[in-house]
Symmetry: C2
Subunit: 345 residues, 2 copies
DNA sequence: CTGTTAGCGCCTTCAA
DNA sequence: TTGAAGGCGCTAACAG
């Protein structure tokens, strides 16, 4: 029942009858390079197992000035309902490179943010991922200039820092394309409106939608403005329908809006997709919960997180620029197939 | 344009014309205790600012054997849809104590789990929070025995480790109480069934429901078994209603089930709460998205996370035992008020 | 009140 | 192929 003292590398070396140097080489996978005898290696590894030796990273970090740790600064990503997938993707990518994530959630407070960045820097993280819940333009704190940094789901026009974000423009095109392919040519409306000043998603999605429709000589008949919430969308669309609107196709700027739209349509006896085709954005679980499941252009959160970490680790890091990841469409049953296609044979 | 060498404590000391010891005392807030002159302190702080000094935690950790870092081992918490709030709560509580969180998401793989625990231990984390997405019984890996550990949202019957989880039994009572208070005395059914073998939530909620109803001389008329998903609940309840069932009150074991139930009820022309009162569990955002908003017994995720960290930091840690946090009810409009109450005046 | 000294555990040149 | 020695940056006795 002795007090369990920490087992150090020299304990292992002693036990194996070698010097700490030799043990260090072996444990760092340099035994071949150092041409260490198989026998020695076996003895050292045995000693490690018997003693339950575990390297002390603080010591190693002090010596090597690396920590195998990546810092994540985020506003609300961790708490976010599905943006937390960014963390998962990042975590998996980090692990693939034997790194761990230290997270600092700022809850949107610049003071907290500055504090947490300082905290990460003191901890000697090998790099920092600066993530935002909402795709937006930001100005990163200057303190980050001193450490390898990648922006996740945001861009800073004032720097050349690498950034990873979804291809919202392409996503907009994809959404519109789904309606075009279904043969819809009129009565097309967008539901939702850009909520925050520096958010990018809404603007770009709308732009993509217009571009794609334009290629077909089409356009949207209008935008039903509403907040990006279920209740907000319901209220706006309910009033709009009560006013006599009879749309053919609705593009909802996110899945929550789609849910509100479904509720409003039901209220007015309109059925999806029989009376109205609906397409949406996010590709969240909510999309699959609706009846019928809504076709949604997916925000590839996990991929974004993983890619950000990959860029961070990449030697060519500095010249990466802005990476835009595709937004795949997740097909539901909310778009009425083109009539001609049904009896195709 | 010199190469920016790391600024060390002795650089600061030199600049301020004092020894490193003195500088260290000052920066660790021990200047009063050490009765250091105000003038000296001022000079040191000025030097820190001028040089942009930032302490190196690796060195400090090596010396003090503490890291101001808490490790979190979780299966799917980070990616989880709303359980990620546990992380937020934990993060906030940790920050309140100047700690940061290092997360290791295992994705349910025991091999990965063992690896990540090792990784955390090597990094000398001050403590470990072992969290699960689903409230369940687990067996924690033995490696955790060597470090201060708290279980979050799970218990390990084979150990005396402190655990923090929701009071599901009380939650069940609360849910049933909502229906009792509304004057419902018959036609009460539970929707959902325990999905996984070691999950605790379903069993305890049901038990709480039965206990509360029992106090009123009531009972549930039956359980409509179904998976804890929207589609699963819809299918089960739709079939059940088609069979002629006409319930008065439904207690859904989670919010997704409630959504499926709403869909099925609508399909059969039944209105909430006019025809059927509905109560549910989770208190997720989804609950507020339904029309009418469903009354839901809330899983206090953020509190759970915060409490786990608090327990971990507590000196009396070892004797904490199992902490059960209350599940508050979030009132919606899905329970029909007792008729007598309407014309109360 | 402040400075001197001695490591924390590990990696890595250098010498053997 | 292995060992001895030094130091990463910081803290904490112990002296003055």
């Amino acid at each position: 029942m002795s007090v369990t003292r920490t087992v150090t590398l020299s304990d292992v070396a002693e036990r194996a009858g070698v010097s700490a140097t030799t043990a260090s080489y072996i444990l760092n996978g340099r035994s071949v390079e150092m041409r260490i005898s198989a026998d020695t290696e076996t003895r050292v590894r045995a000693a490690v197992a018997e003693l339950g030796y575990r390297p002390n990273r603080s010591a190693r970090s002090l010596r090597t000035a690396t920590t195998s740790t990546i810092g994540v600064i985020s506003d609300f990503v961790a708490s976010g309902h599905f943006a937390s997938q960014m963390l998962t993707g990042a975590s998996a990518a980090a692990r693939a490179d034997a790194h761990l994530l230290v997270i600092g959630e700022t809850e949107g407070d610049p003071g907290v943010e500055a504090l947490l960045i300082e905290e990460l820097l003191e901890r000697q993280v090998d790099g920092i991922v600066y993530a935002t819940l909402v795709t937006a333009e930001v100005t990163v704190p200057p303190a980050l200039g001193r450490r390898r940094t990648v922006l996740l789901n945001c861009v800073d026009p004032s720097t050349v820092l690498p950034a990873v974000l979804p291809d919202e423009l392409g996503g907009g095109r994809t959404a519109a394309g789904a309606l075009v392919r279904a043969g819809l040519r009129s009565g097309l409306h967008v539901v939702g409106e850009d909520p925050t000043p520096n958010a990018l998603a809404g603007v770009l999605r709308l732009q993509g939608i217009r571009a794609r429709l334009g290629e077909e000589g089409l356009g949207i008949d209008g935008v039903v403005p509403c907040p990006w919430t279920v209740a907000g969308a319901y209220a706006a669309v309910d009033a709009w329908l009560a006013d006599g609107a009879r749309p053919q196709g609705l593009i909802c700027l996110n899945d929550r809006i789609a849910m509100g739209v479904y509720q409003a349509l039901a209220e007015h006896g309109l059925e999806v997709p029989r009376d109205v085709s609906v397409v949406s954005f996010d590709g969240s679980e909510l999309a699959t919960w609706l009846r019928p499941e809504v076709t949604s252009v997916t925000l590839p959160y996990a991929d974004l997180g993983a890619e950000a970490v990959r860029v961070l680790m990449d030697p060519g890091w500095a010249t990466t620029g802005v990476v835009r990841l595709p937004m795949p469409i997740s097909a539901g049953a909310s778009v009425r197939p083109r009539p001609a296609e049904v009896p195709a044979s």
